[in-house]
């Protein structure tokens, strides 16, 4: 079985930049794929072009930082992994930082890098880096950004977002 896995792995070596272990792992076993029992904001995201759908829930700490985030989604490995990594990395950030993180992440997903990103976000971005491989697959960029669109909508108190 692991031999077979390797032969699959060999053939798709080039794809490892997109489907890094961490993505396959979070795609298969997301840690934050759950509706929060208590939450302060929620929003849906919808990519009509491919049928991906996600809902994001957020709970804030008294200081206004995100205490917990969860999601439910249907979609590909990349969108699930992206939602899961998002739920992990936004914790501890306030709304403004979370939005900045989205902007940086979007830049990274589109171009592969984010040279002008705020140094304060570096650790979080580092964690999201495995997703930067999508920039070579323009039609998959939306998979990675859709959960973030939903998060942004939740933070803005909008009920629905679309990844255009």
């Amino acid at each position: 079985m692991s031999g077979e896995h390797e032969s699959g792995g060999t053939m798709f070596d080039d794809l490892r930049d997109l489907y890094q272990e961490v993505i396959l792992d979070h795609g298969r076993r997301p840690r934050h794929m759950q509706r929060l029992a208590r939450f302060d904001a929620t929003a849906k995201g919808d990519n009509p072009m491919c049928g991906d759908r996600v809902q994001v829930w957020v709970a804030f700490a008294p200081d206004g930082t995100i205490e917990q985030a969860g999601f439910e989604a249907r979609g590909c490995a990349i969108s699930i992994a992206s939602a899961d990594l998002m739920a992990e990395t936004v914790v501890g950030h306030n709304k403004q930082d979370a939005r900045a993180l989205f902007a940086s992440f979007r830049e990274m997903a589109k171009t592969g890098a984010c040279p002008d990103c705020a140094p304060a976000l570096e650790p979080a971005l580092e964690r999201l880096k495995p997703l930067s491989g999508v920039h070579e697959y323009p039609s998959r960029v939306k998979c990675a950004t859709l959960p973030w669109h939903a998060l942004a909508a939740a933070l803005d108190d909008v009920k629905e977002a679309t990844s255009e």
């Binding site: 079985m1 077979e4 896995h5 032969s7 699959g8 792995g9 053939m11 798709f12 080039d14 794809l15 997109l18 489907y19 396959l24 298969r28 072009m49 491919c50 049928g51 249907r74 979609g75 590909c76 490995a77 990349i78 697959y137 998959r140 998979c143």
Partner: protein
């Protein structure tokens, strides 16, 4: 590959030489294009016909009294003859050019739906329609109170003919608008039976032949239907052109859809009168270059011949079904008896989008998604599938590459 093909001298290698794009590499790999059902590639004669028009013989059509316009009109109107021949229409005037099959279906929903059908009547579609054969009728329903009925399908992906007849029983169905071949399941619908039943209950029949006309000879007189629609770009022709065939007397009874140049007989502010069919439905400068390209495509397909095409694609489809069914974790969606060269599938533990991306990395182009058929996806309990679809240039080897690569994809996500 089989007797018919041997008899017809079908030679896929020679055909492939007519399609320059097939020599391309993608991500360093040989292109394996299995997305023809979305849009087919264009053979040399189609490209050449369009180039030749633009380089040597082009002007606007119909009203020009000068040489370039006369020649261009001839070339464009020759497309009408070619399509009339393709469908075995009784008359060339029964061929209406639109922008796409979506344009043809919307023309029907407006001109027939709003102009001929009456509130209280119904339109009957099936559970395996493309959005283009759902949404226009939905808009008609919501605007005009014309009921929309949906004929169920079996789990194998075949039309439930008992239900079909039952849905016609009250005589309210004025129009059956149904796919002639599903773009997701590959199912050919039983056209003659549909027509017989519909006519017996006083309904006219329109086929969405976007997929069907690509793989098999369509003879509208033999089918006995009333309208038939297809799209140029799936039949190896250019984008920007679609076809609606209709019986002359039915077309004549329909009001025009769009207004403008070329579709009028005379215009005053008080009242305008309409040109004869088909021009009544062709407002504005028509898709001239596209007509010229489509004509070349039709001639190309006719020269190869539908018997050979159908045999080739049947062999490919059989091979694909056999190879893919043998892969653990692969589920072929749709098991109709009568089917064309489209195979939808899912793979356990892998989302179709991820499957498509991994295949693409190997140069293999398949489609993944809901294929503009969301209600069918719901019916199947799915959100999306991957789909491999075949054309005249598809080879057995390409299907083997797909199957071999799918095995690896399965392992990648194991």
């Amino acid at each position: 590959m089989n007797d018919v093909m041997a008899a017809t001298g079908f030679d896929v290698a020679r055909i492939r030489e007519d399609f320059p794009i097939l020599r391309q590499t993608v991500r360093g790999k040989k292109l394996v294009f299995l997305d023809s059902a979305a849009s087919a590639q264009k053979p040399r004669p189609v490209i050449d016909a369009m180039v030749q028009a633009m380089e040597t013989q082009y002007a606007n059509v119909h009203r020009g009294l000068h040489w370039m316009s006369e020649r261009t009109t001839e070339a464009y109107e020759a497309a009408r003859d070619a399509v009339a021949g393709l469908l075995n229409a009784r008359e060339r005037a029964e061929i209406v050019f639109t922008g796409s099959v979506t344009g043809s279906l919307n023309l029907m929903a407006h001109s027939y739906g709003r102009g001929v059908l009456k509130p209280g009547q119904a339109v009957l579609i099936s559970a395996m329609e493309h959005h283009s054969n759902i949404v226009p009728w939905q808009m008609l329903r919501d605007e005009r109170g014309i009921e929309l009925r949906v004929c169920p399908i079996s789990d194998a992906g075949e039309l439930d003919m008992a239900a079909f007849e039952a849905l016609l029983a009250d005589g309210k169905v004025g129009l059956v608008s149904i796919t002639h071949m599903s773009n997701v399941l590959g199912t050919y619908t039983p056209a003659e039976r549909i027509v017989a039943l519909a006519h017996a209950h006083g309904a006219k029949v329109l086929f969405d032949g976007a997929q069907a006309v690509v793989h098999r000879k369509v003879d509208v007189q033999a089918l006995g239907c009333d309208f038939y629609a297809f799209t140029g770009h799936k039949l190896y022709g250019p984008t920007g052109i679609g076809v609606l065939w209709g019986r002359r007397e039915l077309l004549e009874a329909m009001p025009p859809f769009m207004g403008g140049g070329d579709m009028i007989s005379s215009v005053t502010y008080e009242r305008s009168t309409w040109a004869q069919v088909p021009h009544k439905f062709e407002a504005g400068t028509p898709p001239i270059l596209e007509g010229i390209g489509l004509r070349a495509a039709v001639d190309y397909v006719q020269a190869i011949g539908y018997p050979a095409i159908a045999a080739h694609e049947a062999a490919l489809t059989e091979h694909a079904l056999a190879r893919m069914s043998a892969i653990e974790g692969v589920h072929v969606i749709g098991r109709a008896q009568d089917r064309g060269g489209v195979v939808s599938f899912t793979l356990d533990r892998a989302h179709p989008h991820d499957v498509a991306t991994l295949l693409d990395r190997q140069g293999i182009a398949v489609r993944a998604g809901h294929h503009c058929a969301e209600p069918l996806m719901h019916r199947l309990g799915l959100e999306s599938t991957a789909r491999a679809s075949f054309g005249i240039y598809t080879t057995t080897e390409e299907i083997d590459v797909l199957a071999d690569t799918l095995t690896r994809v399965r392992e990648f996500f194991a």
